[in-house]
Amino acid sequence: MIEDIKILEAVERYITGEMTPDERVFFEGLRKSNPEIDQTVVEHTFFLQQMNRFDEVKNFKNLLNENHIHLAEKGLINSPRLKGKAKVIYLYNRYKRVAAIAASIAGITALTMSALVWSFSPGKPTQEVQALRRELKQSISKLENKNHELNQKIDNVKDQAQEVIQTPAINYKSGGTGFLLDSKGYIVTNQHVIEDARHIAVQDNNGVDLNAEVIYSDAQRDIAILKITDKRYKSPGSIPYSIKGYGGDIAEPIYTLGYPRNDIVYGEGYLSAKTGYNGDTLSCQITVPANRGNSGSPILNKNGEIIGILSAKQNTAEGAVFAIHSKYILNALNELQKDTAFKNVKTPSSTVLKGSDRMQQVKKISNFVFMVKVD
């Protein structure tokens, strides 16, 4: 390589005439005796010429384009603007047959495809896949109930004549997990978590229940977006993670944070298949510990980018858990933004977690993951 460079350098100095007369005589001798050197000189001369010519033509092309724009603006040449209509008609005439044929083929194909899809689609996987929505353990609520009864008794004693009508405490019966999409209080979770809900509350990392309502839900993709309506909600700051617009790769390490119990639980695993149950392309298969209540948990990669939402597990197979691809979160968000009331809902486009270790990441994220409780 170094030899080659030395030769090339000599050849170039020879061609450009930078050699001293002595050097030149010596080099010409070399050229005569060594056909390889001679060949290199010829080739390099040609190549330098090619480079120069390339540059000249390139510059000339630029000059031509400048002139074209300039002359067209001044109206000194017939500018293409006036050809607008004529061009459309002309193109129409030229391609109308092709277009007609293409359209009918497209029509037939569309019909055939939809027939095929209809006859082969697996339908809703009802039995084998279990949505991981949690039936909330009622112990705390029971305690509260007892308190409540006690209070009532006391009240009754205090004021026997009047029947006290209190708003009954809501007993949340089931739940899942959700995470903030926008720190203004927009939470994304699974649609099945909030299905048929009368009341929804989200519980933050400190155990405070906040009222929320559904503002978007898509049963097919199993995605819902909630808005925290509670006045007590305080934004936990800017969201550290981002939502990735495309899927991860098989074997990519992943982790999740969710509420299968009353405390936030961390789990880690890997992406095991790019499609979900029965080849479902909306979701992917992951291997990660998942229990009831994990539905709606974010699935993150090592950079702290969300690649999916945990949604279900397969009962008939060991360790098969499914997550909905994160791009459907972004799609849902786009849909939501079409409503002018929500056009300012935004999610960060880049993660600030990249490079920090897992403990730090989890610490930051846990303030943004909520338990979703449903009555």
């Binding site: 460079i5 000249e56 033509v57 031509l64 074209h68 004529a86 061009k87």
Partner: protein, 188 residues
């Protein structure tokens, strides 16, 4: 045919990339070529491409030095444009041209020459694009902008001119390989 002094001056200007000369030739000849293309299944964009290619053919000719035009510039450009467009139409199986301009010359040699050059241009463009940075800028700085090595070393952050020179040669070897690999494939 009277070898117009004005035309001679224009061609001389063209060979030196003189903006005025190019503008003048452009202005006087564009419309007639555009009319030809549009009357023959082309669009204004096609016309622009064809006309500019014809301008390049003329440019290459005057660049070669020994060139003397033995017809009017208009005739030359029209003939070349017509030829280029005919070739494009042949690819779409359409042959007959509807045309208004009568003066024409045979441009077979010019076209053959031009096609060769055009191919080479394409190959160099591809090679340059495949070369990547910083090689591309480095070579352009040295061979095209003709900046000296000290200057380049400073601009590209090399510790000294010697380093920059070595890097430049490495890049050059790569560019040559990229270029000649296409060139050899082409000539087979």
């Amino acid at each position: 045919m009277k070898a117009d002094n004005n035309e001679k001056a224009l061609l001389q200007g063209l060979s030196k990339n003189d903006k005025k000369a190019v503008e003048s030739i452009y202005k006087d000849n564009y419309n007639i070529v555009q009319a030809l293309i549009i009357n023959n299944n082309g669009t204004a964009d096609d016309a622009k491409d064809v006309f500019q290619e014809a301008m390049i053919v003329l440019y290459e000719k005057v660049q070669s030095g020994s060139f003397e035009l033995n017809c009017q510039i208009k005739t030359f450009i029209y003939s070349v444009s017509r030829r280029i467009w005919l070739k494009k139409l042949m690819h779409q199986n359409r042959f007959n041209l509807v045309e208004g301009h009568a003066d024409m010359i045979s441009v077979d040699d010019e076209m053959e020459d031009h096609e060769k050059r055009n191919n080479e241009y394409g190959m160099m463009e591809k090679a340059m694009n495949n070369l990547g940075e910083p090689c591309k800028s480095l070579l352009e700085a040295f061979y095209i902008q003709k900046r000296n090595m000290q200057d380049i070393a400073a601009g590209f952050g090399y510790t000294n001119a010697e380093n920059a020179k070595n890097q430049k040669y490495k890049c050059l070897v790569r560019l040559k390989r990229l270029f000649f690999s296409q060139y050899k494939n082409e000539s087979l």
